[in-house]
Protein backbone atom coordinates (compact mmCIF):
# COMPACT_ATOMS: atom_id res chain seq x y z
CA UNK A 1 0.00 0.00 0.00
CA UNK A 2 1.17 3.49 -0.79
CA UNK A 3 0.54 4.78 2.70
CA UNK A 4 2.92 2.21 4.12
CA UNK A 5 5.85 2.62 1.77
CA UNK A 6 7.20 5.64 3.67
CA UNK A 7 6.76 3.70 6.90
CA UNK A 8 9.07 0.92 5.78
CA UNK A 9 11.50 3.36 4.34
CA UNK A 10 11.60 5.30 7.59
CA UNK A 11 12.09 2.21 9.69
CA UNK A 12 14.86 1.08 7.40
CA UNK A 13 16.50 4.48 7.51
CA UNK A 14 16.24 4.73 11.29
CA UNK A 15 17.49 1.19 11.79
CA UNK A 16 20.41 1.49 9.42
CA UNK A 17 21.31 4.89 10.78
CA UNK A 18 21.15 3.70 14.37
CA UNK A 19 23.35 0.71 13.67
CA UNK A 20 25.90 2.85 11.87
CA UNK A 21 25.70 5.47 14.58
CA UNK A 22 26.43 2.91 17.26
CA UNK A 23 29.30 1.45 15.26
CA UNK A 24 30.84 4.81 14.50
CA UNK A 25 30.22 6.30 17.91
CA UNK A 26 31.63 3.44 19.94
CA UNK A 27 35.28 4.03 19.03
CA UNK A 28 34.78 7.78 18.90
CA UNK A 29 33.15 7.92 22.32
CA UNK A 30 35.75 5.56 23.71
CA UNK A 31 38.52 7.75 22.45
CA UNK A 32 36.83 10.83 23.86
CA UNK A 33 36.36 9.12 27.21
CA UNK A 34 39.94 7.92 27.44
CA UNK A 35 41.96 10.60 25.73
CA UNK A 36 43.97 13.05 27.74
CA UNK A 37 44.70 15.01 24.57
CA UNK A 38 43.66 18.63 24.24
CA UNK A 39 42.14 17.78 20.90
CA UNK A 40 39.53 15.64 22.54
CA UNK A 41 37.65 18.71 23.76
CA UNK A 42 37.80 20.12 20.24
CA UNK A 43 36.39 16.95 18.73
CA UNK A 44 33.71 16.83 21.42
CA UNK A 45 32.64 20.36 20.51
CA UNK A 46 32.67 19.61 16.78
CA UNK A 47 30.49 16.55 17.23
CA UNK A 48 27.81 18.63 18.93
CA UNK A 49 27.96 21.45 16.40
CA UNK A 50 25.56 20.24 13.68
CA UNK A 51 22.79 20.49 16.24
CA UNK A 52 22.75 24.27 16.39
CA UNK A 53 21.98 24.75 12.72
CA UNK A 54 18.36 24.66 11.65
CA UNK A 55 17.84 21.29 9.97
CA UNK A 56 17.07 22.82 6.59
CA UNK A 57 20.23 24.86 6.70
CA UNK A 58 22.28 21.92 7.79
CA UNK A 59 20.59 20.01 5.02
CA UNK A 60 21.56 22.73 2.62
CA UNK A 61 25.22 22.46 3.58
CA UNK A 62 25.09 18.71 3.43
CA UNK A 63 23.56 19.02 0.01
CA UNK A 64 26.60 21.03 -1.01
CA UNK A 65 29.02 18.61 0.62
CA UNK A 66 27.38 15.46 -0.65
CA UNK A 67 26.71 16.80 -4.14
CA UNK A 68 28.73 15.59 -7.10
CA UNK A 69 31.17 18.46 -6.62
CA UNK A 70 31.10 18.46 -2.84
CA UNK A 71 33.77 17.54 -0.33
CA UNK A 72 32.29 14.14 0.34
CA UNK A 73 30.16 13.60 -2.72
CA UNK A 74 32.98 14.44 -5.13
CA UNK A 75 35.36 11.69 -4.11
CA UNK A 76 32.42 9.35 -3.62
CA UNK A 77 31.08 9.76 -7.11
CA UNK A 78 34.59 9.57 -8.55
CA UNK A 79 34.91 6.24 -6.78
CA UNK A 80 31.49 4.73 -7.24
CA UNK A 81 30.22 6.61 -10.22
CA UNK A 82 26.99 7.49 -8.47
CA UNK A 83 25.90 10.51 -6.55
CA UNK A 84 25.06 10.59 -2.84
CA UNK A 85 22.38 13.21 -2.91
CA UNK A 86 18.80 12.09 -3.39
CA UNK A 87 19.72 8.53 -2.55
CA UNK A 88 19.11 6.39 0.45
CA UNK A 89 22.84 6.29 1.14
CA UNK A 90 22.92 10.05 1.21
CA UNK A 91 20.05 10.09 3.68
CA UNK A 92 21.89 7.69 5.93
CA UNK A 93 25.02 9.79 5.88
CA UNK A 94 23.08 12.94 6.63
CA UNK A 95 21.12 11.32 9.45
CA UNK A 96 24.26 9.89 10.95
CA UNK A 97 25.95 13.26 11.05
CA UNK A 98 22.90 14.97 12.42
CA UNK A 99 22.20 12.48 15.18
CA UNK A 100 25.82 11.84 16.09
CA UNK A 101 25.88 13.87 19.30
CA UNK A 102 22.83 12.07 20.66
CA UNK A 103 24.71 8.83 20.40
CA UNK A 104 28.26 9.84 21.16
CA UNK A 105 27.52 11.71 24.34
CA UNK A 106 25.58 9.04 26.24
CA UNK A 107 28.16 6.46 25.24
CA UNK A 108 31.01 8.67 26.32
CA UNK A 109 29.38 9.27 29.69
CA UNK A 110 28.76 5.57 30.11
CA UNK A 111 32.37 4.74 29.36
CA UNK A 112 33.63 7.36 31.75
CA UNK A 113 31.48 6.11 34.55
CA UNK A 114 32.52 2.50 34.05
CA UNK A 115 36.08 3.66 34.60
CA UNK A 116 39.31 1.78 34.25
CA UNK A 117 39.04 -0.62 37.13
CA UNK A 118 36.98 -3.41 35.57
CA UNK A 119 39.07 -3.13 32.45
CA UNK A 120 42.29 -3.61 34.35
CA UNK A 121 40.79 -6.60 36.09
CA UNK A 122 39.89 -8.12 32.72
CA UNK A 123 43.38 -7.55 31.35
CA UNK A 124 44.73 -9.40 34.35
CA UNK A 125 42.50 -12.32 33.39
CA UNK A 126 44.06 -12.82 29.97
CA UNK A 127 41.47 -10.81 28.05
CA UNK A 128 42.84 -8.88 25.07
CA UNK A 129 42.00 -5.19 24.78
CA UNK A 130 39.26 -5.96 22.30
CA UNK A 131 37.93 -8.92 24.25
CA UNK A 132 37.86 -6.90 27.46
CA UNK A 133 36.01 -4.11 25.74
CA UNK A 134 33.39 -6.45 24.34
CA UNK A 135 32.93 -8.61 27.41
CA UNK A 136 33.19 -5.94 30.11
CA UNK A 137 32.79 -2.39 28.88
CA UNK A 138 29.92 -3.03 26.50
CA UNK A 139 27.63 -4.75 28.97
CA UNK A 140 28.54 -2.34 31.75
CA UNK A 141 27.60 0.51 29.40
CA UNK A 142 24.27 -1.04 28.52
CA UNK A 143 22.23 1.87 29.81
CA UNK A 144 24.31 4.28 27.78
CA UNK A 145 23.77 2.17 24.68
CA UNK A 146 20.05 2.04 25.21
CA UNK A 147 19.83 5.78 25.65
CA UNK A 148 22.04 6.31 22.63
CA UNK A 149 20.03 3.95 20.47
CA UNK A 150 16.69 5.38 21.57
CA UNK A 151 17.73 8.98 21.01
CA UNK A 152 19.42 8.16 17.71
CA UNK A 153 16.54 6.08 16.42
CA UNK A 154 13.72 8.41 17.39
CA UNK A 155 15.58 11.48 16.27
CA UNK A 156 16.17 9.92 12.88
CA UNK A 157 12.54 8.88 12.65
CA UNK A 158 11.35 12.39 13.34
CA UNK A 159 13.97 14.15 11.26
CA UNK A 160 12.56 16.16 8.46
CA UNK A 161 14.48 19.24 7.41
CA UNK A 162 17.77 17.57 6.68
CA UNK A 163 16.22 14.56 5.09
CA UNK A 164 13.98 16.59 2.84
CA UNK A 165 16.85 18.73 1.71
CA UNK A 166 19.35 15.97 1.08
CA UNK A 167 16.94 13.33 -0.11
CA UNK A 168 14.29 15.29 -1.85
CA UNK A 169 11.01 13.60 -1.42
CA UNK A 170 11.15 10.81 -3.91
CA UNK A 171 8.40 8.32 -3.14
CA UNK A 172 9.78 4.87 -2.41
CA UNK A 173 13.35 6.14 -2.37
CA UNK A 174 13.77 9.03 -0.03
CA UNK A 175 10.25 9.96 0.95
CA UNK A 176 10.31 9.04 4.58
CA UNK A 177 7.41 9.13 6.94
CA UNK A 178 8.04 12.59 8.27
CA UNK A 179 7.94 13.99 4.74
CA UNK A 180 4.87 11.99 3.91
CA UNK A 181 3.08 13.36 6.94
CA UNK A 182 4.22 16.84 5.99
CA UNK A 183 2.80 16.41 2.52
CA UNK A 184 -0.50 15.17 3.87
CA UNK A 185 -0.70 18.27 5.98
CA UNK A 186 0.16 20.48 3.03
CA UNK A 187 -2.64 19.05 0.92
CA UNK A 188 -5.00 19.37 3.88
CA UNK A 189 -5.35 15.63 4.12
CA UNK A 190 -5.43 15.84 7.89
CA UNK A 191 -7.03 12.45 8.25
CA UNK A 192 -4.05 10.64 6.79
CA UNK A 193 -1.66 12.85 8.72
CA UNK A 194 -3.35 11.97 11.99
CA UNK A 195 -3.48 8.31 11.13
CA UNK A 196 0.20 8.18 10.33
CA UNK A 197 1.18 10.28 13.34
CA UNK A 198 -0.85 8.27 15.79
CA UNK A 199 0.40 5.04 14.25
CA UNK A 200 3.94 6.25 14.51
CA UNK A 201 3.47 7.32 18.09
CA UNK A 202 1.82 4.07 19.09
CA UNK A 203 4.42 1.93 17.43
CA UNK A 204 7.26 3.89 18.96
CA UNK A 205 5.61 3.87 22.34
CA UNK A 206 5.31 0.12 22.33
CA UNK A 207 8.89 -0.36 21.21
CA UNK A 208 10.22 2.07 23.80
CA UNK A 209 8.06 0.59 26.51
CA UNK A 210 9.46 -2.84 25.78
CA UNK A 211 13.01 -1.53 25.73
CA UNK A 212 12.69 0.34 28.99
CA UNK A 213 10.79 -2.42 30.63
CA UNK A 214 13.48 -4.94 29.88
CA UNK A 215 16.20 -2.47 30.78
CA UNK A 216 14.70 -2.05 34.21
CA UNK A 217 14.92 -5.73 34.89
CA UNK A 218 18.67 -5.55 34.77
CA UNK A 219 20.04 -4.41 38.08
CA UNK A 220 22.01 -1.21 37.95
CA UNK A 221 25.67 -1.80 38.36
CA UNK A 222 26.59 1.05 40.61
CA UNK A 223 25.18 -0.52 43.77
Amino acid sequence: MDLLSPVWLTLKLAAVTTVILLLVSTPLAWWLAQSKSKWAAVVEAIVALPLVLPPTVLGFYLLLALGANGMIGGPWSALTGSALTFTFTGLVIASVLYSLPFVVQPLQNAFVSVGKKPLEAAWCLRASYFDAFISIILPLSLRGYITAAVLGFTHTMGEFGVVLMVGGSIPGETQVLSIAIYEHVEVLDYGSAHTLSVGLLLFTFIVLLAVYFINRRFPTHAD
Binding site: G67, A83, T85, G168, E186, V187
Partner: protein, 225 residues
Protein backbone atom coordinates in the same frame (compact mmCIF):
# COMPACT_ATOMS: atom_id res chain seq x y z
CA UNK B 1 8.54 8.16 -15.66
CA UNK B 2 8.57 11.84 -14.84
CA UNK B 3 10.00 13.33 -11.73
CA UNK B 4 8.15 16.45 -10.83
CA UNK B 5 9.32 18.92 -8.24
CA UNK B 6 6.33 20.90 -7.19
CA UNK B 7 5.84 23.92 -4.97
CA UNK B 8 3.91 22.88 -1.90
CA UNK B 9 0.95 25.13 -2.67
CA UNK B 10 0.29 23.29 -5.90
CA UNK B 11 0.83 19.83 -4.45
CA UNK B 12 -2.81 19.16 -3.69
CA UNK B 13 -3.88 20.11 -7.19
CA UNK B 14 -1.15 18.06 -8.77
CA UNK B 15 -2.19 15.04 -6.75
CA UNK B 16 -5.61 15.33 -8.33
CA UNK B 17 -4.17 15.85 -11.78
CA UNK B 18 -1.63 13.05 -11.57
CA UNK B 19 -3.96 10.06 -11.86
CA UNK B 20 -5.86 11.70 -14.66
CA UNK B 21 -2.67 12.29 -16.57
CA UNK B 22 -1.28 8.86 -15.86
CA UNK B 23 -4.45 7.23 -17.06
CA UNK B 24 -4.40 9.24 -20.18
CA UNK B 25 -0.79 8.68 -21.16
CA UNK B 26 0.51 5.67 -19.28
CA UNK B 27 3.39 7.77 -17.95
CA UNK B 28 4.17 7.63 -14.32
CA UNK B 29 4.55 10.78 -12.22
CA UNK B 30 6.86 10.83 -9.24
CA UNK B 31 5.95 13.88 -7.25
CA UNK B 32 8.19 15.63 -4.75
CA UNK B 33 6.67 18.53 -2.93
CA UNK B 34 8.54 21.17 -0.94
CA UNK B 35 8.95 24.90 -0.85
CA UNK B 36 10.21 26.39 -4.07
CA UNK B 37 13.38 27.61 -2.40
CA UNK B 38 14.29 24.12 -1.24
CA UNK B 39 13.52 22.59 -4.57
CA UNK B 40 15.64 25.25 -6.24
CA UNK B 41 18.61 24.45 -3.99
CA UNK B 42 18.18 20.76 -4.71
CA UNK B 43 18.04 21.26 -8.46
CA UNK B 44 21.14 23.43 -8.36
CA UNK B 45 22.85 20.59 -6.52
CA UNK B 46 21.91 17.92 -8.98
CA UNK B 47 18.53 16.69 -7.92
CA UNK B 48 17.17 14.31 -10.55
CA UNK B 49 13.96 16.21 -11.29
CA UNK B 50 12.64 16.55 -14.80
CA UNK B 51 10.06 19.22 -14.28
CA UNK B 52 9.88 22.08 -11.84
CA UNK B 53 6.53 23.62 -10.97
CA UNK B 54 7.52 26.70 -9.05
CA UNK B 55 5.38 28.95 -6.93
CA UNK B 56 6.61 32.00 -8.76
CA UNK B 57 8.70 33.11 -11.70
CA UNK B 58 11.88 33.99 -9.89
CA UNK B 59 13.23 30.51 -9.25
CA UNK B 60 12.78 29.27 -12.84
CA UNK B 61 14.48 32.43 -14.01
CA UNK B 62 17.46 31.74 -11.78
CA UNK B 63 17.61 28.12 -12.86
CA UNK B 64 17.75 29.16 -16.45
CA UNK B 65 20.57 31.55 -15.64
CA UNK B 66 22.39 28.69 -13.96
CA UNK B 67 21.84 26.59 -17.04
CA UNK B 68 19.83 24.10 -15.09
CA UNK B 69 16.60 24.61 -16.97
CA UNK B 70 15.55 25.17 -20.55
CA UNK B 71 14.47 28.75 -21.17
CA UNK B 72 12.22 27.77 -24.01
CA UNK B 73 10.10 25.52 -21.84
CA UNK B 74 9.20 28.19 -19.31
CA UNK B 75 5.53 29.13 -19.01
CA UNK B 76 2.92 30.16 -16.51
CA UNK B 77 0.96 27.05 -15.65
CA UNK B 78 -1.32 28.61 -13.08
CA UNK B 79 -2.04 31.88 -11.39
CA UNK B 80 -2.87 31.79 -7.74
CA UNK B 81 -5.60 33.74 -6.02
CA UNK B 82 -5.06 35.31 -2.63
CA UNK B 83 -7.96 35.27 -0.21
CA UNK B 84 -8.57 36.37 3.31
CA UNK B 85 -10.04 33.47 5.16
CA UNK B 86 -11.52 32.75 8.52
CA UNK B 87 -12.57 29.49 10.07
CA UNK B 88 -15.53 31.08 11.70
CA UNK B 89 -18.58 31.94 9.74
CA UNK B 90 -18.51 35.69 9.52
CA UNK B 91 -18.72 38.07 6.58
CA UNK B 92 -15.27 39.15 5.51
CA UNK B 93 -14.11 42.22 3.68
CA UNK B 94 -11.24 44.62 3.69
CA UNK B 95 -12.28 46.05 7.03
CA UNK B 96 -12.28 42.74 8.83
CA UNK B 97 -8.68 43.24 9.98
CA UNK B 98 -9.59 45.87 12.48
CA UNK B 99 -12.69 44.16 13.80
CA UNK B 100 -13.11 43.18 17.44
CA UNK B 101 -11.53 39.94 18.56
CA UNK B 102 -8.90 39.76 15.85
CA UNK B 103 -5.70 39.11 17.72
CA UNK B 104 -3.66 37.39 15.09
CA UNK B 105 -3.60 37.58 11.34
CA UNK B 106 -1.65 34.85 9.62
CA UNK B 107 0.31 35.49 6.49
CA UNK B 108 2.95 33.45 4.76
CA UNK B 109 6.48 34.69 5.15
CA UNK B 110 6.69 37.51 2.59
CA UNK B 111 10.36 36.83 2.11
CA UNK B 112 9.97 33.22 1.12
CA UNK B 113 6.49 32.88 -0.23
CA UNK B 114 4.87 34.76 -3.13
CA UNK B 115 1.56 34.54 -1.31
CA UNK B 116 3.16 36.21 1.69
CA UNK B 117 4.55 38.95 -0.48
CA UNK B 118 1.16 39.45 -2.07
CA UNK B 119 -0.52 39.62 1.33
CA UNK B 120 1.92 42.25 2.44
CA UNK B 121 1.35 44.28 -0.71
CA UNK B 122 -2.36 44.07 -0.06
CA UNK B 123 -2.00 45.42 3.43
CA UNK B 124 0.16 48.25 2.17
CA UNK B 125 -2.30 49.01 -0.51
CA UNK B 126 -5.06 49.18 2.08
CA UNK B 127 -2.87 51.36 4.27
CA UNK B 128 -3.33 48.93 7.11
CA UNK B 129 0.11 47.44 7.44
CA UNK B 130 1.20 49.62 10.32
CA UNK B 131 -2.10 49.16 12.11
CA UNK B 132 -2.06 45.38 12.00
CA UNK B 133 1.67 44.79 11.98
CA UNK B 134 1.70 43.64 15.57
CA UNK B 135 -1.04 41.12 14.85
CA UNK B 136 0.79 39.41 12.03
CA UNK B 137 2.08 35.89 12.49
CA UNK B 138 4.09 34.32 9.73
CA UNK B 139 3.97 30.80 8.43
CA UNK B 140 6.85 29.19 6.66
CA UNK B 141 4.63 28.31 3.77
CA UNK B 142 1.11 28.92 2.68
CA UNK B 143 0.29 25.50 4.11
CA UNK B 144 1.45 26.48 7.54
CA UNK B 145 -0.36 29.78 7.30
CA UNK B 146 -3.51 27.87 6.59
CA UNK B 147 -2.92 25.76 9.69
CA UNK B 148 -2.61 28.85 11.86
CA UNK B 149 -6.10 29.79 10.85
CA UNK B 150 -7.49 26.29 10.73
CA UNK B 151 -6.32 25.59 14.26
CA UNK B 152 -8.06 28.72 15.48
CA UNK B 153 -4.91 30.37 16.72
CA UNK B 154 -5.18 33.10 14.14
CA UNK B 155 -8.62 34.49 13.51
CA UNK B 156 -7.82 35.63 9.99
CA UNK B 157 -5.28 34.64 7.41
CA UNK B 158 -4.15 35.36 3.91
CA UNK B 159 -4.17 31.99 2.22
CA UNK B 160 -4.53 30.63 -1.26
CA UNK B 161 -7.95 30.19 -2.72
CA UNK B 162 -6.81 26.74 -3.76
CA UNK B 163 -6.61 25.74 -0.11
CA UNK B 164 -9.96 27.08 0.89
CA UNK B 165 -11.83 25.42 -1.92
CA UNK B 166 -9.84 22.20 -1.65
CA UNK B 167 -12.47 19.50 -1.14
CA UNK B 168 -10.33 18.15 1.63
CA UNK B 169 -10.61 21.36 3.63
CA UNK B 170 -12.61 20.27 6.66
CA UNK B 171 -13.42 23.84 7.65
CA UNK B 172 -15.56 26.53 6.21
CA UNK B 173 -15.09 26.53 2.44
CA UNK B 174 -17.25 29.44 1.45
CA UNK B 175 -16.44 32.21 3.84
CA UNK B 176 -13.57 34.19 2.40
CA UNK B 177 -12.77 37.55 0.95
CA UNK B 178 -11.15 37.35 -2.43
CA UNK B 179 -8.45 39.98 -2.60
CA UNK B 180 -8.82 41.98 -5.79
CA UNK B 181 -6.09 41.04 -8.25
CA UNK B 182 -4.81 44.56 -8.57
CA UNK B 183 -3.97 44.82 -4.89
CA UNK B 184 -0.79 42.86 -5.47
CA UNK B 185 1.49 41.70 -8.21
CA UNK B 186 0.12 38.61 -9.93
CA UNK B 187 0.75 35.21 -8.41
CA UNK B 188 1.97 33.69 -11.64
CA UNK B 189 3.35 30.21 -11.05
CA UNK B 190 5.82 29.13 -13.65
CA UNK B 191 6.79 25.70 -14.86
CA UNK B 192 10.05 24.84 -16.49
CA UNK B 193 11.71 21.77 -17.98
CA UNK B 194 14.93 20.98 -16.18
CA UNK B 195 18.25 19.88 -17.66
CA UNK B 196 17.75 16.43 -16.17
CA UNK B 197 14.53 16.04 -18.14
CA UNK B 198 15.57 17.60 -21.40
CA UNK B 199 15.60 14.24 -23.18
CA UNK B 200 12.58 12.93 -21.37
CA UNK B 201 9.76 12.90 -23.87
CA UNK B 202 7.25 12.19 -21.19
CA UNK B 203 8.31 15.27 -19.28
CA UNK B 204 7.58 17.44 -22.29
CA UNK B 205 4.32 15.64 -22.69
CA UNK B 206 3.41 16.44 -19.13
CA UNK B 207 4.23 20.11 -19.54
CA UNK B 208 2.00 20.18 -22.58
CA UNK B 209 -0.72 18.45 -20.61
CA UNK B 210 -0.63 21.19 -18.03
CA UNK B 211 -1.65 23.61 -20.75
CA UNK B 212 -4.57 21.41 -21.80
CA UNK B 213 -8.17 22.23 -21.01
CA UNK B 214 -8.57 19.13 -18.92
CA UNK B 215 -5.81 20.27 -16.68
CA UNK B 216 -6.96 23.83 -16.58
CA UNK B 217 -10.38 22.65 -15.52
CA UNK B 218 -9.01 20.85 -12.54
CA UNK B 219 -6.88 23.84 -11.66
CA UNK B 220 -9.90 26.06 -11.86
CA UNK B 221 -11.73 23.78 -9.45
CA UNK B 222 -8.82 24.32 -7.12
CA UNK B 223 -9.10 28.03 -7.40
CA UNK B 224 -6.33 28.79 -9.83
CA UNK B 225 -6.88 31.15 -12.71
Amino acid sequence: EIRVAVAANFLATLKTLAPLYEQQTGDRLIVSGASSGKLFAQVINGAPYDVFLSADGGYPEQLIQHDKALASSRFVYATGVLVLWSRINQPLDKNSFIAEGINHIAIANPATSPYGAAARQTLIKLGLLDKVKHKLVQGESIGQTFLFVASGNAQLGFVALSQVVNPANPYNQTNYWRVPADYHSPLAQEAVLLQHGKDNVAAKRFLEYLKSDAARNVMAQYGYL
